[in-house]
């Protein structure tokens, strides 16, 4: 038994040595959650963090995740300093830990917003939203802003009770929603504008076989969100650094080709009220029951 205790002690000691040797220098941690509706796959955030490190004079470490929950929780506990997160994730982070949006990215057309579309097959008899009643609709995913939240709210505002008037499925992706529509499994599919173009290699017939029934409200683009207790000074520095990078030729080229961002625009919390009202329309309760 003595030996077992000694054994355990040594293990603990050994691991704590590992822990202590990595002396902490100041680093800024950046999380990047690409929007599923972006045009290109973001493979690595390293080019961006390198430029940011240069601009800020502090080392920036970045990581990518396909889902935002980790980053939102990281912002909440201060483990992540700032992140590129989808708009809905910002609202959650703000709700939970007063995280603050400082910038939003611009897309190809220079706008800070995008929207979703309702697609139907050209040969279908649906010509207006009222025809959707009694039909099958494919949403993307219950956590998707452009594939569930906004289209769902849109239908409700059109006077359709999504629980009663229609039958819906979650497709699991914008590509899969499109696929369901093309295969005839559903009559209406919701995707970002324009998923048909992004997945033209997989579904070359999408453009000619489907048409847009209508668009949702505009959704704010990906947000640059900082943790709630960040000092004003650092907040400003990050904001300036990103805006500066977008101004340089090298920087803007990099943002365009690798991250699909065509510059930044200052953003305020009020820009995201639309997400909150939409969530309310969809009866999504962002606060836990007390």
């Amino acid at each position: 038994m003595k030996r077992a205790i000694a054994l355990l002690l040594i293990v603990v000691l050994a691991i704590s040595i590992v822990g202590c040797t990595s002396k902490e220098e100041e680093v800024i941690k950046m999380g990047f959650v690409p929007m599923k509706d972006g045009d290109s796959l973001i493979e690595s955030v390293e080019p961006l963090t390198e430029m940011l490190s240069k601009e800020l004079g502090v080392k920036v470490e970045g990581f990518t995740a396909t889902n935002y929950v980790g980053v939102v929780e990281g912002l909440g506990s201060g483990q992540v300093d700032f992140g590129f997160i989808p708009p809905f994730a910002y609202v959650l982070a703000n709700e939970e830990s007063n995280a603050e949006v400082i910038l939003t990215a611009l897309n190809k057309s220079g706008e800070a917003k995008y929207r979703s579309q309702f697609l139907v097959r050209k040969d279908s008899d649906i010509t207006s939203f009222s025809d959707i009643k009694g039909k099958k609709v494919a949403f993307v995913d219950p956590s998707s802003t452009s594939g569930y939240l906004f289209p769902g709210a849109h239908l409700i505002n059109e006077g359709i009770d999504i629980e009663k008037d229609i039958e819906y499925v979650y497709a699991g992706g914008h590509d899969k929603a499109l696929q369901l529509l093309l295969n005839g499994d559903v009559d209406v599919a919701t995707t970002f504008v324009d998923a048909r173009d992004r997945y033209k290699e997989d579904f070359p017939e999408a453009m000619e076989k489907t048409e847009v029934l209508g668009y949702t409200d505009y959704i704010p683009n990906i947000s640059v969100t900082v943790k709630g207790d960040m000092e004003e000074e650092l907040k400003d520095k990050i904001k300036v650094a990103l805006l500066n990078i977008a101004k340089t030729e090298e920087g803007s080229e990099l943002l365009k080709t690798l991250f699909n961002m065509y510059g930044f625009e200052e953003a305020t919390d009020a820009d995201y009220d639309i997400i909150r009202t939409t969530a309310k329309t969809m009866n999504i309760d962002l606060k836990e029951a007390e």
Partner: protein
């Protein structure tokens, strides 16, 4: 006498060498997964904070979730039935000691061990991309998983049949079909039921993961609640799953103990003969009914299925044209996944070794401790690693450490359950033989049970290692390190050529590890 002294000295040196080696490996792995005690300590308050939010389950939500639970159970049952039924004939083809053709057996086992390396999340993601309809893809994905697990279990069992047992049938002049029918099949019914329950439990857990990719069931709302940060709802769902699995456990125990043991009693040979004749009809009918039941809940039309197959062909033909452009990413990600998995297996293994001593009722210091720990361990096992990873992520931030810790906890739970069962089954005689020498309970464990069962423990741990590597791909989804991020993103973007390459890389790694661990366990 000299040789005895030598033996003692050598034994000591060996033991301390192994021990130092283990520590060195652990330190090395600690570095690799960026383990940091200070960070962990500092992160405790914020982890507790999140954990506390989970401690308030929202009971009224449970009613809402009930429908989804039923759907999950249905998916799991159907896929388990299909998996076990299909695995049975294949296991006869590949088990070393009865395989009719060595080449067919070698080819099939090669294909199956390749398929086994693909994580269930990835199966579902690919299948959803092919068939797109949620529930069907979920069932197919879980059927594949169930098939592969059942195949492995059947095969291990059949290969475990003693050579003399086979000889005893051969020696009456029986041919190979007869050997199969009279030596292997009599055990199959009972075995199938045991395997069915094992697979069912795995599949219910698996169904929660499939929600991530839209494959239906309780996983879907679990994923939604996680994405809305509704931890109260999330813990409700985990609780529901915990009880579901508990009920299945009890049911399985009941079925195995009472229903099977009750053999039919016969009065005369005539009755017996009639029963044998009856069996010829009722067994195939039973199998057909099971198949029909399974297929009827698939709700997919033939045309739709063919359409899906066509799309599947496109996807697979693109996956075969592998695109190695992401080679450096692959190596980086795979190594990280590998280190996370090994770290989690070793740490989980150490904890499990201590915990199972306290958990197994024959070694535990008291009944209360044993029962309490059994509960805790079952809850640990029910917590999906991805949720644990988020808790740690909050505490220690991004990087492999969060993933490594989450997997360590999961591994602790699973290994403790499996090993304490081994202790309970193997225990009594050995323990008694040592206790009679006047040893304490702990001593009898240390010098009797532990050395006796340690090889089994190592085997279980190595088995865990393999599945940890597969599990670690899921952690990438939230940024907790490993190859998962790259893989999932490429599936989402339908870059099938890259997906093919990444999967190939993962498979090669797992197969190498498998071979290595086989060598270790034989040694």
């Amino acid at each position: 006498m000299n040789s005895l002294k030598n033996y003692i000295a050598k034994n000591k040196i060996h033991k301390s060498l192994y021990f130092l080696g283990a520590i060195a490996i652990l330190i090395f792995l600690g570095f690799k997964v960026e383990f940091d005690f200070v960070k962990l300590h500092k992160g405790i308050p914020s982890m507790l904070n999140l954990f506390q939010r989970m401690l308030k389950p929202n009971i009224s939500y449970g009613v809402e979730a009930f429908d989804k639970l039923i759907e999950t159970i249905q998916i799991a049952i159907v896929s388990s039935i299909l998996g076990v039924l299909v695995a049975l004939p294949f296991s006869l083809l590949i088990a070393d000691n009865i395989a009719p053709n060595r080449y067919i057996s070698a080819i099939l086992s090669g294909v199956f061990s390749f398929l086994r390396t693909i994580p269930s999340l990835i199966w579902a993601a690919i299948l959803v991309s092919i068939f797109s309809v949620g529930k069907f893809s979920g069932i197919v994905a879980l059927t594949i998983i169930a098939f592969l697990i059942a195949l492995k279990l059947f095969r291990e069992y059949i290969e475990g049949i003693k050579e003399n047992q086979l000889n005893s049938i051969k020696s009456v002049g029986a041919n190979s079909t007869q050997v199969l029918r009279y030596c292997v099949l009599p055990h199959i019914l009972e075995l199938s039921i045991s395997i069915f329950f094992i697979v069912l439990e795995t599949n219910i857990r698996g169904a929660t993961i499939l929600g991530l990719v839209g494959a239906g069931g309780i996983g879907q709302i679990m994923w939604r609640d996680l994405n809305h940060l509704r931890y109260d709802n999330l813990s409700t769902l985990i609780l529901i799953l915990f009880f579901t699995i508990l009920i299945i456990d009890v049911l399985s125990l009941f079925v195995r103990k009472y229903l099977i043991k009750k053999a039919v009693r016969f009065k005369s040979i005539d009755n017996y003969k009639k029963f044998q004749l009856f069996k010829i009809f009722y067994i195939p009918i039973l199998v057909i009914i099971l198949f029909l039941f399974a297929f009827s809940s698939l709700n997919i039309t033939y045309d739709r299925f063919i359409l899906g197959l066509g799309q599947g062909k496109d996807v697979i033909s693109r996956m075969i044209r592998i695109d190695p452009s992401c080679f450096s990413k692959l190596i980086e990600g795979i190594l990280e996944s590998f280190f996370i998995a090994v770290f989690a297996t070793i740490v989980g293994g150490l904890f499990a070794l201590v915990l199972s001593y306290l958990t197994a009722y024959n070694t535990s210091p008291s009944k209360g401790v044993s029962i309490f720990l059994k509960g805790v361990i079952n809850i640990l096992r029910t917590f999906p690693p991805i949720v644990t990873a988020i808790i740690f992520f909050r505490g220690v931030g991004p990087g492999p450490m969060a993933g490594a810790m989450a997997l360590s906890i999961y591994t602790t739970g699973v290994l403790t359950k499996m090993y304490s069962e081994v202790l309970e089954n193997e225990g009594k005689n050995i323990q008694a033989s040592i206790t009679t020498t006047g040893a304490t309970n702990l001593q009898s464990y240390r010098h009797g049970l532990l050395p006796h069962t340690f090889p089994t423990f190592i085997r279980l741990a190595l088995y865990r290692l393999e599945s940890n590597i597969r599990n670690s791909t899921i952690l990438g989804v939230i940024g907790a390190g490993g190859i998962g991020t790259t893989l999932v993103m490429n599936i989402m973007w339908r870059n099938w050529e890259k997906v093919g390459f990444l999967l190939l890389g993962i498979s090669i790694m797992i197969i190498i590890i498998d071979k290595l661990s086989q060598m270790v366990s034989n040694y």
